[in-house]
């Protein structure tokens, strides 16, 4: 399985994502430069965390028009898998790969801490190796993570089982319906604010993120 990690100017979780794929999962990964128009035949695209283009205008607004995004969008439309983490989630929403938007945290502060999430469904490419209702601990690190969408969209997400991860216990950013991670209509794009790629080594206290990567390995045809 070949993963491609997109690098925008300002990405800062690209190396973590690469490390998770190569060192923890034992699969191949390449970096994809945002100015290129070449996905290098990867099976899975990762839009990593960071502050692409300094979050100028709105988080993700400018990155969304980077040349590589044309190819990422085409990949997603073909059913290709995209894992959009944190700033990547913001980019994916701006690009229309996922509905809704991510707004300033309700408490206004940037929050960097571990949070608890509930796995809402295991019927997803990204969560089949978890158990339904499992509580996992991922770190968050964001100032604009409050997922927002109109009521009709939120109802649709719930009705179609597209909320894959929900904050458990404490909702750190005030997101609608405690949403932490959602998939698109066809289930091949996941946007998630917390960072699974930062919890793949026992040395950092948790390997809860690893099952997301291994789920992909199990379910995505190479």
């Amino acid at each position: 399985m070949k993963f491609g990690v997109v690098r925008f100017p300002g990405s800062n979780c690209d190396t973590d994502a690469y490390h998770a794929v190569v060192d923890a999962l034992g699969e191949e990964a390449v970096y994809l430069w945002h100015k290129d128009h070449d996905l290098q035949d990867v099976d899975i695209v990762i839009l990593p965390g960071g502050f692409a283009y300094g979050d100028y205008l709105r988080a993700g607004a400018i990155a969304r028009f980077s040349p590589i995004m044309t190819d990422v969008i085409a990949h997603a439309k073909r059913g290709g898998v995209v894992l959009a983490i944190c700033n990547g989630f913001q980019v994916a929403c701006e690009a229309g790969l996922l509905p809704g938007a991510l707004m300033r945290n309700a408490g206004l502060q940037y929050i960097c801490e571990p949070v608890r999430l509930r796995v809402e469904t295991t019927d997803s490419l990204f969560s089949s190796n978890y158990t339904a209702g499992q509580i996992v601990r991922f770190p968050i690190a964001h100032g604009e993570g409050r997922y927002t969408a109109d009521e009709a969209t939120l109802d649709e997400l719930e009705a179609r089982n597209r909320v894959v991860f929900r904050y458990h216990g404490v909702n750190p950013n005030g997101s609608a319906r405690d949403i932490a991670g959602i998939v698109n209509e066809t289930g091949n794009v996941l946007g998630i604010m917390p960072h699974p790629e930062r919890v793949v080594d026992s040395i950092v206290g948790s390997t809860d993120g690893l099952a997301m990567f291994s789920s992909l390995l199990a379910r995505v045809p190479a």
Binding site: F65, C93, A101, R104, T148
Partner: protein, 85 residues
């Protein structure tokens, strides 16, 4: 071609929680401005653009807002001023 300076006001969509506006409103109350009912914090973008006429300049900036400058899911925008440079 004429050069126009088009000003755009972008603000959080009505009804969407605006914690920044609320924090500023609370601070104003603390400072004694008791009459303050509501505050919203948005962005003000000024675009200088060459267009054949004013209408065209407006339309062009409107398109820029829809495509990039504003996010229609969470923000409203309005062209507040057009000047000839």
């Amino acid at each position: 071609m004429t050069r126009y300076r088009v000003s755009v006001e972008i603000k959080p969509r009505e009804g969407i929680l605006d914690p920044q506006g609320k924090a500023v409103g609370d601070a104003l109350h603390t400072l004694g401005f008791a009459g303050v009912q509501d505050v919203h914090v948005g962005r003000y973008v000024v675009v200088d653009t060459d267009s054949p006429n004013e209408n065209n300049a407006r339309e062009s900036v409107h398109a820029m807002c829809k495509k990039l400058l504003a996010n229609p899911v969470i923000e409203d925008f309005a062209i507040t001023r057009v000047e000839t440079l």
